[in-house]
Symmetry: C2
């Protein structure tokens, strides 16, 4: 193929409300202009005319390169196992306008266009990563997005002027509903906002969903009466997709007042299905996302998945945050936070939850990085493994945030706050004298 | 963490019908025995006891290392961007027994366990790839699997003793149902078994699914009357998951007699949902699979996804096959073929379709590699871009297969078969004298 003009356009020459903008990095063994034209062809009008007809379907149905910058000329391929021999290599950033009418407001079909066979098997391109998707306003209007958004979440929970405190009930797997519920109850008594199921916990024989939500629904109301504040139970409805609406109904009836979905395990479209039906806020957990987001030169950038989870209707999005275990650069964490809260026209904001081995000491770095309070932490061990138990664990979170909000060093604040002192011991090994 | 004995077991000491076997390769910056114990902990009982209770949930709910082989001591990390500093590196292959009762016969929850946060964010492991899952018989019995299987497909289509000839109707995008149907009709007249929608084609304004299936349903019956043989129309029902059962019903009523799903774009569980309902064979297309299968040291091996598509109920699985564009090593292609046809107890076989830029010349290498005829080819351009049109294109496939089956060199056979000669010219540039 030549450098086909039909697959190139100026952005200002297009009806911009009718196109997605796709932002890819790719590496090619061929002239990147030719490679980019191939990419457009493969992901849209692979064959643009009938054999015996004088026609050209590309102007209307072809995707179009609107910007191409050759950024690098790598000496060796970033993904060596995808290319055996080469004369010359190019690393390029390309922006492509994709005609929305090819698929419409359908998440699975959009995914096919932006991340399907055509994209990852394009001639001459051996490595490619989808970095971003920009959606026009008209397109976004055809999605529901989060039902509550951040403002709605604050009304739903009564949590204002500070981050939300979630806690993953642990032991995550293996407890029957009653002892599991007792742990949640203890955490609510310490002021935890939202006690949640682990992503691994589902509707099992040893913890049937109906029974679990009944127990925790009852206990959270008891805790609300005792504490005079809202206590939320976030139940995991991740299951076969033809079961999820039913689980929603059972959970909500029994008193679960938020629901979690492991979005890439069910598929984003299943999240959207539940969103159309839901009466309570929806929370996305980040399973099966790392496998295609962690390589810098291949796959999909995590911000795209965060955006799509928001578009699918998640009020909160949990993603990999700071810390050694998460192996996620700070700028990537920040990009995911921004994907939750950046303007998306008619689509409400999702609450960002940059997760991973959090505790009372996690507020400082997050607050400093973000500069605002519209986020949540979601520790497990820091609440439910706290040496004095879940009530003390929840208290330690409040103390950690108070210190951060007041600008008092954590260890200083811990001198008069024993639950925080215990948490510091638990997570850093350091003894704080009381 | 120490090298915790609770996360290790001998396979023969376990109730083997109650466990999946997970086969991972990982690279660690820490002792691989400790790393493997961490991995089990993260993917199962992250915290295995309550703070104030003397208990241990690991024997019942913990996943267990049943084999660990240190294969390499890499000098530099395979995924350098995941690890900044190291003293020593290990590359290990580990087999883990995972207790099925943690999630039961639920695909999204199984995915969470085998490829969720716990697996890809395990301490000390900076690269990990899920290579295989072995399912016990009892577990497989809880899935439907393919409704037809290979034998059922042969009965459904009347295609015996040779590979199936599929063709992707092209132009794939942009044609209204009538001209689109005319192309399919021409291909059936040349003997194509199954004319199919492209994976990018869905229910759009310019080609509404109901109208398209009506037109092609009528035309395929006309073609059956004319040719006296079975002519199949494979319609793509990939859409939002709450729409797919309805599209199945519309399509089947209108005469579409196979249905396609871009399985990882809808989610595997949506495929299973359709499987429980379907009246016709289901076909999986390979979109959004490359992003997490192509890196050799990270993500998931493609054979796992092929197995899961079979488990979800796909009668045919299309995956990346031979050829430069597909960047897939021959052994990986063969592993995917075997994942379709290896014994899976009560689960029927899927027909393997190793795809990518195929034509009449593709039979030879595939047949030689596989040694049997239980496969399909799925060309687009070779049928619908054939210089003499789709009828000649379909004929060229028959000729290509005949030459292969008879052991006659393609160019030799082409001397008396002009459609094949034209195909050779189209794909290799070589003129064959008639």
């Amino acid at each position: 193929m030549k450098h086909e003009k039909a697959f190139f356009s100026k952005w200002e020459d297009l009806d911009q409300e009718k196109y997605l903008i796709l932002d890819y990095y790719f590496e090619s063994t061929i002239d990147p202009y030719v490679a980019a034209a191939h990419l457009c062809q493969e992901q849209s009008t692979a064959q643009w005319k009938r054999v015996d007809v004088d026609e050209d379907l590309r102007p209307q149905f072809g995707s179009k390169v609107i910007d191409l910058q050759v950024e690098r000329q790598p000496e060796t391929p970033s993904l060596p196992y995808q290319v055996e021999t080469w004369e010359k290599l190019w690393g390029a950033r390309v922006k492509i306008a994709y005609p929305i009418a090819n698929f419409g407001p359908r998440i699975p079909n959009m995914l096919t266009a932006v991340g399907g066979e055509g994209v990852y098997y394009s001639p001459g391109i051996y490595a490619i990563k989808l970095h971003d998707i920009i959606f026009p306003h008209e397109y976004l209007e055809q999605f529901e997005g989060p039902k509550f958004g951040i403002e709605g979440l604050r009304e739903w929970t009564g949590v204002y002027d500070r981050p939300f405190f979630l806690g993953v009930i642990k032991p995550n797997i293996g407890l029957a509903p009653e002892p599991f519920g007792e742990l949640a109850y203890k955490s609510w008594m310490g002021g935890l906002d939202i006690a949640k199921d682990d992503e691994l916990l589902c509707d099992t024989e040893w913890s049937p969903f109906a029974e679990r939500t009944r127990v925790l629904g009852r206990l959270r109301k008891e805790a609300e009466e005792k504490t005079g504040k809202r206590c939320v139970y976030l139940a995991n409805i991740t299951d076969e997709v033809d079961k999820m609406v039913e689980l929603h109904d059972i959970g909500v009836k029994n008193g679960a007042d938020m629901l979690m979905i492991n979005a890439m395990c069910t598929g984003l479209s299943a999240v959207r299905m539940v969103r159309k039906h839901t009466e309570v806020p929806l929370v996305a957990h980040f399973d099966f996302i790392a496998p295609f987001t962690k390589a810098p030169f291949y796959g999909v950038h995590s911000r795209v998945i965060t955006k799509l989870q928001r578009l699918s209707g998640c009020d909160m999005v949990i993603f990999s945050g700071l810390g050694d275990r998460m192996k996620t650069p700070q700028n990537e964490v920040m990009e995911n936070i921004n994907s939750c809260t950046d303007d998306m026209g008619p689509i409400k904001k999702s609450l960002p939850i940059p997760a991973g081995s959090q505790w009372a000491g996690s507020f400082g770095p997050l607050y400093k990085m973000m500069g605002h309070r519209d986020f949540a932490v979601v520790p497990g061990r820091a609440v439910f493994g706290h040496p004095s138990g879940p009530t003390a664990g929840a208290i330690s979170l409040h103390q950690g945030w108070e210190a951060t909000a007041k600008g008092i060093p954590l260890e200083e604040y811990a001198k008069n706050h024993k639950e925080l002192a215990q948490a510091i011991k638990q997570f850093t090994g350091k003894e704080i004298e009381q």
